[in-house]
Symmetry: C2
Subunit: 378 residues, 2 copies
């Protein structure tokens, strides 16, 4: 509910029922008008372009009507209404200062004490509430396990089907993670792998990865996940200059382990939005290419920050470890959560299958479920 609306030609000042004050510009209101000539009623898409709005736009009137805002724009002579609740949800007249490396509401960073979020295969297929909780865990923590699944090869594709679409790459729609004789990638050996994000040499990077266990009787081969956002926060808190260096210069990544493939990227290890939000972590010792975009006089400090970030990532206090059983899998947000593998050897076998997918589908499926059943959000 609105209490008052006052205006001049270019700005309307609102006071909400609880006393909150917020200003909105005429141009912003006109661009975001909700009437059927501005937004297509069926699909909600905007029907006008920025150039369709008169350059000499002004507010001729603004008043509270039934608790909502009603404004008239000139020279169009167009009157439109804005619900008070909609305005309240879109206030931009507020403090926008952020600490570099901030994360959005709904993201919870974690260290080794976290109990791995986990859902059951049959449950997420049968019960929308279970599926929603599982997707919400990936959104909040950047990873989640799934247990009790089948042990047929290709089952990981059914995991992706639950929320979105596989991203096929040169590794195929999915790939076999087991020891090979002439490995095109060190993942296809029994070596331990430092915690890493996958395919940082790819742009766009795959934003989700699914790793699905079919056999795991070998000694070792445990999985470890590490919250890269938490590692970045630690670096920011302990060494803000180092954080700024890793965010402020592009690294380079490269993979050309197979014939006909030459993937290269130029992206920072810590990617921030223009206003300092953590967007993505890229960290992979195997595929880091020579860094050539950092000035000579910053290179030693850059490497010191890289070493420090690596120490947080290797710190046992950061990782959540588990050993997948056949039929178990996990999803990681590959823009945030790193995954590692302990080396394995000896008798027995280890066979995982992996595939990539994208966050847009997962977050869209989750958001649509939340819109359809908001009461289940608590």
């Amino acid at each position: 509910m609105l209490r008052t609306a006052t205006h001049d030609g270019s700005v309307v000042t609102l006071v909400f029922a609880d006393g909150t004050r917020a200003r909105f510009h005429a141009i912003w209101l006109r661009d975001n008008a909700l009437d059927p000539e501005t937004r297509a009623p069926g699909n909600g898409q905007r029907l006008i372009t920025i150039g369709d709005i008169p350059a000499d736009l002004s507010l001729a009137a603004a008043e509270v009507a039934n608790g909502d805002l009603q404004v008239t724009f000139q020279p169009e002579g167009k009157t439109v209404a804005f619900p008070a609740a909609w305005l309240r949800a879109h206030v931009y007249d507020r403090d926008h200062t952020h600490r570099p490396g901030w994360t959005e509401a709904g993201i919870t960073t974690w260290e080794s004490g976290l109990a791995a979020p986990c859902a059951d295969w049959a449950d997420v297929h049968a019960n929308p509430r279970a599926k929603r909780g599982w997707l919400a865990a990936v959104a909040e923590f950047g990873f989640a396990k799934l247990t009790g699944g089948p042990t047929e090869p290709g089952s990981l594709l059914k995991v992706a089907d639950l929320f979105g679409y596989v991203r096929e790459t040169n590794y195929g729609p999915y790939f076999e993670v087991r020891t090979e004789v002439n490995p095109t990638n060190l993942a296809y050996t029994g070596l331990g792998l430092q915690a890493h994000t996958d395919n940082p040499y790819r742009d766009p990077v795959p934003t989700l990865q699914i790793l699905y266990c079919l056999e795991n009787s070998a000694e070792g081969g445990d999985s470890i996940v590490v919250d890269g956002f938490r590692a970045a926060e630690r670096l920011r808190d302990d060494n803000p200059e180092g954080f700024a260096l890793l965010a402020g210069y592009p690294a380079r990544f490269e993979y050309k382990g197979s014939d006909g493939v030459c993937l290269r990227s130029r992206r920072p290890m810590i990617e921030l939005s223009p206003d300092g939000q953590l967007v993505a972590i890229r960290f992979n010792n195997r595929s880091s290419a020579p860094f050539v975009d950092i000035p000579f006089d910053r290179m030693e400090a850059y490497y010191a920050a890289y070493r420090q970030l690596g120490e947080y990532i290797d710190d046992p206090a950061m990782g959540v470890a588990f050993k997948l059983e056949p039929g178990e899998s996990f999803i990681v947000d590959n823009t945030r959560v790193l995954h590692a593998r302990k080396g394995y050897s000896g008798a027995g076998s280890r066979w995982l299958q992996g595939c990539y997918a994208d966050k847009d589908g997962l977050l869209s499926t989750l958001a649509a479920m939340e819109m359809a059943q908001p009461e289940a959000a608590e």
Copy 2:
């Protein structure tokens, strides 16, 4: 060839045969050592982590041997060689200042005078040189046409097969672009569409789009492409403060035109790398959501810059127009080149199919062809 190498504990200073001088740090050289204990010989991946490098690393020796560099690291007592040509290709002791909005070598921005790059269907399938030229055009100009293709539905998937992989989305592996009765997207109408990038509400955005014509006998329906990087350059040159605003604050995009779909993103209209390189343009009047991340006192200037960018994009001096015939298609780099459609109506029909794919596959295929046949690069 190297002329001289001098060193202290942490830096080696090289003079190349042509007199060029460049310094390299011990830590950088050790991390990028090319020996088989540091890089796996088969697949080229790094076998060590940053933490495996001793924190007290120093250079015990550095000398020129057969024109290349040979260095010894302490405390490892490890001696490795670096080819002079490899060092020359990876010099970072150079000027790193860039003008905001710079583009990498190999990118050519354009306006309406450009003759649309074009290749023939049979040719790109039969002739690697033709295929390479076609892919190189997408890399350099951000779009290319393909003519003389079949008119069977689904043929666009064969275009993607030439270089990479389709990115499936909620619109399917591919989608029909023709007039529908209850369109879930304004693309599925006869309306003209302002030049735009597709799916800015998706994160990651699809980085390539293929639009393939099956029927086009209706009046109108011409395609227009606009170089978003060129539009951004014009804004930077004419209004640097406006350019900084569009690059400096996230916009918002949203699509929820279908059941079960709710896609949202928070990304700037002009995305720059941390060192100011143009990375991506996002511009779409239909799916722009209310911008709520710009401070109140910058919003009017932000909107003025948005209007100005839109004027460049709508400027007939910027667009390259063509009308696709059945069997013709074009690819756009959806992070750079906007595409528009003139409205169509009346007798006849217009039926296009569209799909998304990603640049990593295209650029990898191109780079691998260039590595395999460098002599054809001119």
